[in-house]
């Protein structure tokens, strides 16, 4: 990793976490937040925006873009009703969600408002069927203690979670309504001058403080982080959707470099004089009809035009990489994809991608370029092409100033990609279907008491250690993991050793995940069933990991199938003795040579063969016995 001085570049990070509450009920209706893959209903909508709502981007362009997508919604009647479908007004606010929010505000010493107003925040991408998210401000101010520091709290809000994106294509988008309406508490922290590792610490602390209340939903996606990142002289960039804490550091690191990289690029650009006008846009469709590039050919097939943009003095500026993987050319490519155009070519990377030297010469001649000039080639249909070109020109102009404020998404690879322009002001107006919600001093008192009597995270960990006889690290791990609830459930019947359960849930499953297998396939039922089988001696300890592997790799859909396909079950003694005798026979030389010490090698061979069907302990005992007997002979 390239080293960077975060303090020197003035890195500031404001963390925002969204945590789902485990009220087992949605915020404005009676539905249960059940996630399923089966959908009983499908319907389609199109959301409209008024031209006036569109902020900085060319209104017409964004209007076209938002207008044309058809949105398909999938719903399961168990978890969605007419409220989620926007076919019915919302019901009253869930009282439990309100109580938990007040508790969280109290814990953070945040000042609770005596009257709460539910607002509509316009969201036009389809993730809310109504076209807005219902959200309300519960409290303002406060602080979070992280080690010796106090991090300021900006606000605590209660809001509904959005629908989950299933598919996003050129003209259509699919969403599932399972998650829509699940209560979320949003905690926004004040931006702090910091390092990526410190932000991870802050997020971890905040998450832990919340989990101690026992009111938080667990599992993948139940807590999501957004970060607002800026460096000195830059706009504030909002990075959304950091799902796992491990990613946080990586992403902040990348974004800090991206932003500082753009500042370095801006410094160079300021020395050149960059102007782009209508005269710099050329239609090169005719001359590119014979171009070999697949992308160009495909575009031509669909009646697209090919245009080139001349940018004087720009040679080298697209490809200049102040940090690895940070280039202006990449930024422009992402902008272009926002409009649904596949890609854009820039002069620093050509010839390439099927565009030859002679093609490049043609362009340079057509555009009357000299050596230090640069150009872009882009293909698309009118009028989308024109809007896109306008946005590219704007992006280049922004690049001269440094880092434009925008909203980006976190990727699985630890990078950030352009998501949408940052809206100017929050598009919020009152949710008139719901009257304002009063908060009595009694309610505040109750929240305050609860906050005072909620144990700190440290105490909670100590409790778990004591209760289940775990060491500190195990207790921490299981508490932080998504399996805490499951762990307690499995240990309830006292038939399995908590130590063992914890290590399977934390270490083994994580190991399998690191090998590339999918934890989402391993459902709580599978885990519970496996431990029950173990508790009733139907399978040996070693088989658990094998069963989990089979399920997580997709080879088996349930425990029974996993057992059958991997041949895991308790082997009967007779068979076991047969196998062990054979092994000794086949390795007679070794036994004679090493005597007792041969057991190490033979154990290896034996365990491979009985793989999961017998416990190591028993195999060891039997082998030891057999070796002894053999030597005697």
């Amino acid at each position: 990793m390239t080293e960077i001085d975060f303090e020197k570049i003035g890195l500031k990070v404001g963390l925002e976490i969204h945590q789902q509450l485990n009220t087992n009920k949605k915020l404005f209706c009676k539905c249960r937040p059940i996630e399923s893959d089966e959908y009983t209903e499908k319907f389609s909508r199109s959301l409209r925006t008024a031209k006036s709502e569109l902020g900085e981007l060319d209104p017409a362009a964004l209007f076209e873009k938002t207008k044309s997508k058809k949105i398909n919604y999938y719903a399961n009647s168990q978890s969605s009703c007419l409220v989620e479908k926007d076919e019915e007004p919302p019901h009253d606010l869930d009282h439990n969600a309100k109580k938990i929010s007040l508790l969280i505000s109290s814990m953070l010493e945040s000042k609770i408002f005596s009257e709460i107003h539910v607002m509509r925040k316009t969201v036009i991408d389809g993730s809310n069927t109504t076209g807005f998210q219902r959200t309300m401000l519960i409290s303002q101010g406060g602080n979070l203690k992280v080690k010796e520091k106090k991090i300021g709290v900006q606000a605590v809000c209660l809001e509904e979670d959005a629908a989950k994106l299933l598919k996003d294509e050129q003209n259509e988008r699919d969403y599932s309504l399972d998650r829509l309406g699940v209560p979320l508490v949003e905690i926004a922290l004040e931006p702090v001058s910091t390092k990526p590792s410190e932000v991870k610490e802050i997020a971890l602390t905040l998450g832990r403080n919340l989990r101690v209340t026992g009111n938080m939903k667990r599992g993948i996606g139940s807590i999501r982080q957004d970060v607002n990142i800026s460096v000195m002289n830059s706009g504030v960039v909002e990075v959304k959707g950091v799902q796992q804490l491990d990613q946080l550091e990586e992403i902040i690191d990348y974004e800090a470099k991206r932003q500082h990289g753009l500042i370095l690029i801006a410094e160079k650009l300021k020395k050149l004089s960059i102007t782009i006008t209508k005269e710099d846009i050329f239609d090169i469709t005719e001359s590119f009809k014979v171009c070999d590039s697949k992308i160009i050919q495909n575009a031509l097939k669909s009646n697209a035009k090919i245009k080139a943009i001349r940018i004087r003095n720009f040679s080298g500026m697209f490809g200049f990489e102040p940090y690895p993987r940070i280039r202006l050319g990449k930024e422009i490519g992402q902008q272009v994809r926002f409009f649904g155009i596949g890609g854009v070519f820039h002069s620093d990377e050509l010839p390439n991608y099927g565009i030859t030297d002679s093609d490049v010469d043609k362009v340079r001649k057509h555009l009357e370029l000299v050596d230090k000039d640069g150009f872009l080639i882009i293909a698309g249909e009118d009028p989308k092409l024109d809007y896109t070109i306008n946005s590219i020109i704007k992006r280049i102009q922004d690049a001269v100033n440094g880092v434009p404020a925008e909203t980006r998404a976190a990727t699985q690879d630890g990078e950030t990609v352009f998501l949408r322009p940052r809206p100017g002001a929050s598009r919020m107006y009152p949710e008139t279907d719901i009257p304002s919600i009063g908060v009595t001093s009694e309610e505040i008192k109750i929240a305050r008491n609860k906050a005072d009597t909620t144990p700190t995270w440290d105490k909670a960990i100590t409790e778990i250690q004591k209760k289940y006889n775990l060491n500190h690290q195990q207790a921490e791990q299981i508490f932080d993991s998504e399996y805490m609830e499951l762990f307690e459930k499995i240990c309830e019947n006292k038939k399995n050793s908590p130590n063992f359960v914890a290590s399977i849930l934390c270490s083994s499953i994580t190991n399998l995940e690191r090998q590339g297998l999918h934890t989402t396939l391993l459902k709580p039922e599978h885990i519970i069933e496996s431990f029950e089988l173990l508790a009733s001696d139907k399978i040996p300890k070693e088989s658990l990991e094998i069963i989990f592997e089979s399920i997580m790799s997709g080879k088996s859909g349930n425990v029974l199938t996993a057992m059958q396909s991997t041949n895991v079950s308790s082997i009967d003694e007779y068979k076991l003795n047969e196998i062990l005798d054979k092994i000794i026979q086949n390795n007679m030389e070794l036994v004679k040579k090493l005597e007792d010490k041969a057991i190490t090698t033979l154990m290896g061979i034996a365990m491979k063969e009985v793989r999961g069907k017998a416990s190591g302990k028993i195999v060891n005992e039997l082998l030891e016995q057999k070796i002894k007997n053999t030597i005697k002979k």
Binding site: F43, S44, R45, S46, L47, R48, T49, A50, K51, S52, E53, L82, K85, D86, E87, E88, P89, K111, F113, S114, E115, I116, H117, M119, R120, K121, T122, I124, T129, T130, G131, F132, T135, M136, L137, Q140, G141, A155, C157, A425, S426, R427, M428, Y429, P430, T432, P435, S436, G438
Partner: protein, 428 residues
């Protein structure tokens, strides 16, 4: 909303004390300092809070008792609304849009949170730009009422307005109307303006038009396309066909009913498919076989007599209630009977009484869908003998409206009965 914009009592006193009004940018010193814009308050709120819109956009309620000081940072200047000049396309047909209430288009002012209805043609075109390509729209506001507050007088007002443009060059007439009683209005217009030469469409929205998911725009666009292309006469009600933003249904104004409190596809034609369907690609598909108006000649009869009662019979219904109706001068009773058109025998005496008092008695069914047929069972036959007129498959609401209309435009009860049984506007 009054001058005080929803504030009263203690809250209003507080505003007066600091001489601040809604729209002002203020700084409130309480336990903390809050900066924001003073918002209007809904009348249903208590008098103990001021509503402030913070910089983040959130509204919060600040307890008046905790306020130590309010400083005015700046006052809102009221800028006169700039209306754009609208350019008409001479090639396009003309449509008249009459507003009666229900906002078919609106604008949100995020600064104040106010949702203002788009009433002028240019406002509507800005909210629904697709209309500009379909027709030149003249917009007029007749009145502005939630449709649950509409009375038969309003129906007459609408009818008279339509009558006044019967000979105009409008290709069609759009009436923006609240959804609660849209089917009552459409029924009245169907009878009062029988044979009207220009197609008329009532259009509304189930989901408020300020939200991006509103059904308003699609309904408006489909309604306009229908008016411009269908080349038909009649009074129609245009709303979403189902929960998808795809097909839009054009229901015959006398056969339609609101069958759900909130769904987009709440309106349904009883007993058959909607008269016309507008597909997602804006093609018009015709389902009805016959002409909407049975007599092609325009015959406006706009008088109305509202002394009609709609009575939903149920077990335990007190016959004395009917006596009361007779005594208070009711001239017609439309029964919503059970099943094929029945009321219990406890009612027979009082029905006879009504008939002897020259009230018109019509029978419809509370099953809503299906046909009343009183010859099948004894109860039905008894009631026929007592003088009840079966109204076949006319919906209760349409029957009620038709009775009011028939009474207003007849000399005697026989004429009323004959009008009630005559198929005028596809009501059977």
């Amino acid at each position: 909303m009054s001058e005080e914009q929803g504030y009263s009592g203690n809250a209003l006193d507080c505003l007066k004390k600091y001489n601040t009004k809604v729209g002002d940018s203020i700084k409130i010193t309480a336990d903390l300092t809050y900066s924001g814009i003073l918002m209007p308050r809904y009348e249903s709120g208590d008098d103990k809070h001021l509503v402030l819109k913070l910089g983040s956009g959130y509204n919060v309620g600040i307890n008046v008792d905790e306020i130590q000081k309010i400083q005015i940072v700046s006052s809102l200047e009221v800028k006169p609304e700039q209306s754009e000049e609208r350019k008409d396309d001479p090639k396009l047909p003309k449509i008249l849009l009459l507003s009666t209430g229900g906002t078919i288009a609106s604008k949100v002012d995020y600064r104040t949170g106010a949702v203002t209805p788009a009433l002028t043609a240019s406002d509507i075109n800005e909210a629904v730009p697709e209309l500009e390509k379909l027709a030149n729209i003249d917009a007029e506001v007749l009145f502005s009422e939630y449709s649950e507050n509409l009375q038969p007088d309003h129906w007459t007002e609408i009818a008279e307005k339509l009558d006044s443009v019967a000979n105009s060059d409008y290709k069609g007439i759009l009436i923006a109307h609240g959804t609660d009683t849209m089917h009552y209005t459409s029924a009245f217009l169907s009878f009062a303006l029988a044979g009207f030469p220009i197609p008329v469409v009532l259009v509304g929205s189930q989901r408020s038009s300020d939200r991006p998911s509103s059904d308003a725009a699609i309904n408006l666009i489909a309604a306009s396309k229908f008016l411009v292309e269908s080349n038909t006469k009649g009074i129609f009600l245009v709303m979403h066909h189902n929960d998808n933003d795809q097909t839009v249904a054009c229901h015959a104004g006398t056969r339609v009913r609101k069958n759900h409190t909130s769904k987009r596809g709440a309106f349904e034609t009883m007993g058959s498919d909607p008269a016309f369907i507008v597909t997602p690609t804006l093609e018009i598909k015709k389902n009805i076989q016959d002409e909407f108006f049975k007599d092609a000649k325009y015959n406006p009869r706009m008088k109305i007599d509202t002394k009609v009662a709609l009575v939903k019979y149920h077990p335990g219904y007190d016959p004395k209630l009917i006596e009361n109706l007779i005594q208070t001068g009711c001239k017609a009773i439309i029964f919503e009977g059970t099943g094929l058109g029945h009321v219990g025998r406890t009612m027979y005496d009082v029905v006879k009484n009504a008939q002897e008092n020259d009230l018109f008695l019509g029978m419809t069914s509370q099953c809503i869908d299906g046909r009343v047929r009183m010859t099948v069972y004894e109860s039905g036959r008894d009631l026929l003998e007592l003088g009840i007129t079966p109204l076949e498959n006319m919906t209760p609401e349409t029957s009620l409206v038709k009775a009011m209309w028939a009474l207003g435009n007849s000399k005697d009860i026989d004429q009323v009965r004959s009008l009630m049984l005559e198929n005028i506007a596809s009501e059977f």
